[in-house]
Amino acid sequence: MTEREMSGLDAVGEGPVSSDVTESASTQSTGDPSDHPSVEALLERYGDAVSRHRLNAGDQWVVWIDPTRSHEVLAWLKEDPDHLFDMMSDVTGVDYGKGRPVEVVYQMYSTTHGRALRIRCPLPLDELEIDSVCDLWKSANWLEREVYDLFGVTFRGHPDLRRILMPSDYAEGHPLRKDFPLRGRFSRAEQTRRALNQDVERYYLAEDIVYGEPQYAPEVGTKGSQDGEEG
């Protein structure tokens, strides 16, 4: 009988693997940075801010950055002509639980050079704060609001940091955190009462909607819809 290669189905019988096991393997840097010009340049220029780098799934480069310098590094990645990561595809967060840091993940793409890059910033649980990148990418606005809503990460300098998915008067915390109970913190009776007491029209205030404002034009101020209303 010939030995066959391990397939994904072979692990099904073993059940879920504890995240502790994979953690030790994942703390090492993998991949050859010379394959990806941006990772190579990042290590060269901001080597002290990079804690590690990793090659995921064959072609996805992941670089861990010191959160205190994230804005500086991301601005350089966006504006340097050799990199020009002009598209912020996604800003999201991960809570690994057990007191480990919450990571803010930036998924970027350079339409000029055709490269993707993922930047991760680990934030300790007692200091969930990071600089907003709304001034660099407009698309980060709602994505950062989502991370704030679901993980409780505060984005310094965000023009409009409030909840986006959960009700605006939600008082139970940030649901995607590992210390958040599955069914929420209040009883179902309290949740139902609070839900029905919502003012549904406050989500759609007429003054929030500004028609005809060229808010996506680069020469207009970076503050979003609030300022355009006055002018």
Partner: protein, 230 residues
């Protein structure tokens, strides 16, 4: 013995002919209840409140293969003001709960509600912080349709159960049966104990620990500290 002798009624006319031909009665008697119920149950206008995959089955029920028009329900009423039966098809998150309640309050009497599928009836697999655990905590429900999602036959059977319910109704009992207190508009339908009872853990979720860490966190407001923790 002809039909004229069997059917209730009168005014037999030899010259103009009756409703079933010469010699049959020219009018019939019936109960007002039967007439009104017959009219209501054959022109139920549904208010579709489709939020998930159940809505696809609801649309299939209205399309030509299953053809709800056979029962007088082809006119989906997208205005609650002109609807008779609310079909809640799909999961309802807490953020949508006041919307559902307002639509129900906007529907004129007489009105009926159908909870279509597992999620609308009990929360289904979504036994989580964001999901209403059965719309019967918010509005009164006449018919629950099981399934995930129910097939169009299931929805049609549910609607026919509503028709059967209408057939049993009577004008003399109707108003007290359907009376609504304006003070309850927008309020939860059930009291706290009933809501907790209705939304109790089902199925696999009973094995889930309430807190993943085992620590009880302090609620962020004092008001919350007084509430029941299920």
């Amino acid at each position: 013995m002809g039909l004229g002798d069997v059917l209730p009624g009168g005014g037999v006319s030899k010259t103009t002919g009756g409703i079933l031909g010469p010699g049959t009665p020219t009018f019939l008697t019936s109960k007002v209840d039967a007439l009104i119920n017959w009219g209501r149950l054959n022109s139920l206008w549904p208010m579709p409140f489709g939020t998930a995959c159940c809505a696809i089955e609801m649309m299939a029920s209205a399309a030509s293969n299953y053809d709800l028009a056979r029962f007088g329900m082809e006119r989906m009423s997208f205005s609650p003001r002109q609807a008779d039966v609310l079909i809640c098809a799909g999961r309802v998150p807490y953020k949508l709960a006041p919307v559902l309640r307002r639509i129900w309050d906007q529907m004129p009497q007489p009105k009926w509600a159908i909870s279509m599928g597992a999620c609308a009836s009990s929360g289904g697999v979504f036994d989580v912080y964001s999901m209403v655990q059965g719309i019967d905590t918010i509005i009164p429900v006449d018919v629950y349709i099981p399934g995930c999602p129910p097939r169009p036959e299931g929805l049609i059977y549910g609607l026919m159960m509503v028709q059967e319910k209408i057939r049993q109704e009577s004008l003399t009992k109707h108003f007290e049966h359907r009376a609504e207190d304006p003070a309850t508009v927008g309020a939860p339908r059930a009291n706290d104990e009933q809501v907790v009872g209705l939304t109790g853990p089902f199925g696999n979720s009973t094995r889930q620990e309430r807190l993943s860490t085992g620590d009880i966190p302090t609620p962020e407001s004092d008001e919350a500290a007084d509430t029941i923790v299920t």
